[in-house]
């Protein structure tokens, strides 16, 4: 089975600090993988490397066989990888609908002339974008609030809108950075169902950073554990749970624990 997203030995240093060291990961199509680790382990840095915010010092990133290293973030979005952000980054003053419509931009052709002169192809495309955006919003129970500014949504809705927006770029792979942060257990449970649906209904491959262990253990096929930028464990959830290095990274060494 060849992997859809194939990351091999990527590293990056900031000054003297090696933030991520030889990180590798191979996710098959429709995989749902988790990336966990203590605060500051370099998880979000991995996302930034994958999406072109940073360029890795070494290593390769392949999406469906295509090399992504050196591409700009917008090119990577066009290649089929989109993400959400740990600290929500919506377009706060744009409406909920427009937040999603912007993300449809990447799959279309847009010229100033065709926009200003309202060519039929342009009009048809705009209509298609609106329909698709509304369908996505309906799926996330946000359609009723589509005219509100994104900033006025409650926190949980903002998180879900960010996922809807990421989906609007029609990604092959979606990277979710702590989607359950700040959600209560009931919302988290609903989110778990939603992430499963991403895979089942959209055929999207998911890589998830999450601190909520319950969520990770509930939905992820495989889990990679980072600590200080180094991969200390990778495997199915049971293996990872029992791995002594993982326990050490999260709980400290047994000797300290005993004192």
């Amino acid at each position: 089975m060849s992997a859809l997203l194939d990351v091999s030995g990527i590293s990056i240093s900031f000054g003297g600090l090696k933030a991520v060291s030889e990180f590798s990961l191979a996710i098959p199509e429709r995989g749902l993988f988790g990336l966990i680790g203590p605060n500051g382990a370099g998880k979000t840095t991995v996302f930034n490397l994958l999406t072109g915010v940073y360029r890795p010092d070494e290593g390769t990133i392949r999406l469906a066989g295509r090399d992504l290293v050196g591409l700009k973030p917008h090119q990577i979005a066009a290649a089929g990888m989109s993400r959400t952000f740990q600290n929500i980054r919506l377009f706060p003053d744009l409406s909920v609908l427009d937040n999603v419509r912007v993300a449809c931009h990447v799959r279309g052709r847009h010229g100033i002339a065709s926009t200003v002169l309202r060519f039929p192809a342009h009009v048809a495309q705009e209509r298609g974008i609106e329909e698709r955006s509304r369908r996505l919003l309906a799926l996330f129970d946000l359609d009723a609030r589509r005219h509100e500014a994104a900033r006025s949504l409650p926190y949980g809705d903002q998180r879900r809108l960010e996922i809807a927006r990421a989906l609007a770029t029609e990604p092959k792979v979606i990277l979710l950075d702590e989607p359950a942060a700040g959600m209560n257990p009931r919302e988290t449970h609903a989110l778990a169902g939603l992430i499963r649906r991403l895979r089942e209904e959209f055929g999207v491959t998911v890589l998830l950073i999450e601190h909520d262990m319950g969520l990770v253990m509930e939905i992820c096929d495989r889990i990679t554990v980072l600590d200080y930028g180094v991969t200390i464990a990778a495997g199915a959830r049971d293996e990872v749970q029992k791995n002594p290095r993982v326990i050490e990274a999260y709980l400290g060494q047994p000797t300290e624990e005993a004192s």
């Binding site: 999406t51 915010v53 700009k72 973030p73 917008h74 979005a77 066009a78 989109s82 993400r83 952000f85 980054r89 919506l90 377009f91 706060p92 003053d93 744009l94 427009d98 419509r101 912007v102 993300a103 449809c104 931009h105 990447v106 279309g108 847009h110 010229g111 100033i112 926009t115 200003v116 002169l117 309202r118 039929p120 342009h122 009009v123 495309q125 705009e126 974008i129 927006r165 990421a166 609007a168 770029t169």
Partner: protein, 351 residues
């Protein structure tokens, strides 16, 4: 197709109507004011593409206006000499003179957009105050260069004998480019106002404009959803500069205007910025309203003219504290909540 041409036709009809009726109804002074308003509308709405839509901060818009104005002025003035031996107006709706004037405005607009491209390039790397300084520097450099140009040639024989480079550098220096034929009238001003408004509104309510807006809202997120922010920022600059150049061409050929470098310096750039900030960053109708008000206000307060700048500055400071997004913010007049409630369920499809 017919629906899409309707707003343009309506705008042109208004322009024709103004041209035919305004002169006899309200008199020449009001006509001049109406032209000033129209030119300022073009300037404010086009600057809004950069400052309001993409969230870059340019304070050199008058520089692009100067490029367009001087290029257009140079072409009509010396062109008239070469064609007809003098720079007096050749009347008629589509006389040779009018065609020369329109062509000159378009060329001026094109050259200005080229300047916009050059100034837009740094915006890829600079943001905020730093970009503002670059645009300010552009305007100032241009002003100094224009001040160093030679005297305007007024003798038909010497114009005929002069090389093209001599003509292009005989722009009147710091005294200004005098003797330009007054081709600008309400018809052409409002034809171009219509074009500017239709372009700005159609961009705003389309994928293209939403991509512009996403840059100002959150550049990192915009990139992450596939918006090519570098390319769009430069395009915003180019487009805005093209319209500013057009406005410059209209300004140069307006009655009672002296086209000189001082007139198109920092002060003018600042006036346009205030229109955008006051009207609402990203609001086309807001920029129009602010342009109207801020063109009429100095006329109404003519006796307090020395207090104009302090009052503007104070208004700007108050605005920044109380309502940093401008009077209308991102919204258009017809999207205001109290208007919406009345016409329930108004969509976003306008223009």
């Amino acid at each position: 197709m017919i629906r899409s041409a309707a707003p343009v036709a309506a705008g042109f009809a208004i322009a024709v109507l103004l041209q035919l009726a305004a002169g006899s109804v309200v008199g020449p002074f009001a006509v001049k004011l109406l032209m000033d308003i129209g030119i300022n509308v073009v300037l404010a709405v086009s600057l809004n593409l950069v400052n309001g839509f993409t969230g870059q901060f340019s304070i050199g818009h008058a520089g692009f206006m100067a490029v367009g104005g001087y290029v257009a002025g140079c072409i009509t003035y010396y062109g008239s000499f070469l064609l007809w031996g003098g720079a007096s107006v050749r009347p008629g709706l589509l006389s040779g003179g009018t065609l020369l004037f329109l062509g000159a405005c378009l060329v001026g607009s094109l050259v200005a957009s080229g300047a916009g491209f050059l100034v837009g390039l740094p915006s890829l790397r600079l943001r905020g105050d730093y970009l503002a300084i670059v645009t300010l520097g552009f305007g100032e450099i241009l002003r100094v260069m224009l001040q160093r140009t030679g005297d305007v040639l007024t003798d038909p024989a010497s114009v005929k004998g002069a090389a093209a480079t001599t003509l292009a550098t005989s722009l009147g220096g710091s005294l200004g480019f005098s003797g330009l034929p007054y081709y600008t009238n309400l018809l052409w001003v409002y034809v171009f106002v219509t074009v500017t408004l239709v372009v700005a509104l159609r961009l705003k309510f389309s994928s293209y404009g939403r991509a512009f807006l996403s840059i100002r809202e959150n550049e990192i997120a915009a990139e992450a959803v596939g918006v090519n922010t570098t390319r769009l920022k430069v395009r915003a600059f180019v487009l805005a500069a093209a319209f500013a150049g057009l406005a410059g061409g209209l300004f140069a050929h307006e009655v009672g205007v002296s086209l000189n470098p001082r007139e198109l310096g920092f002060q003018k750039s600042f006036d346009i910025v205030i229109m955008v900030v006051l009207g609402g960053m990203g609001s086309v109708s807001g920029a129009v309203l602010a342009a109207i008000v801020l063109t009429l206000l100095p006329e109404a307060l003519r006796s307090f003219s020395e207090f104009r700048m302090p009052i503007y500055a104070l208004a700007l400071i108050l605005m920044m504290i109380l309502r940093p997004q401008g009077l209308l913010g991102l919204r258009e007049v017809w999207e205001l909540p109290w208007l919406r409630r009345r016409s329930a369920g108004g969509g976003t499809e306008t223009a």
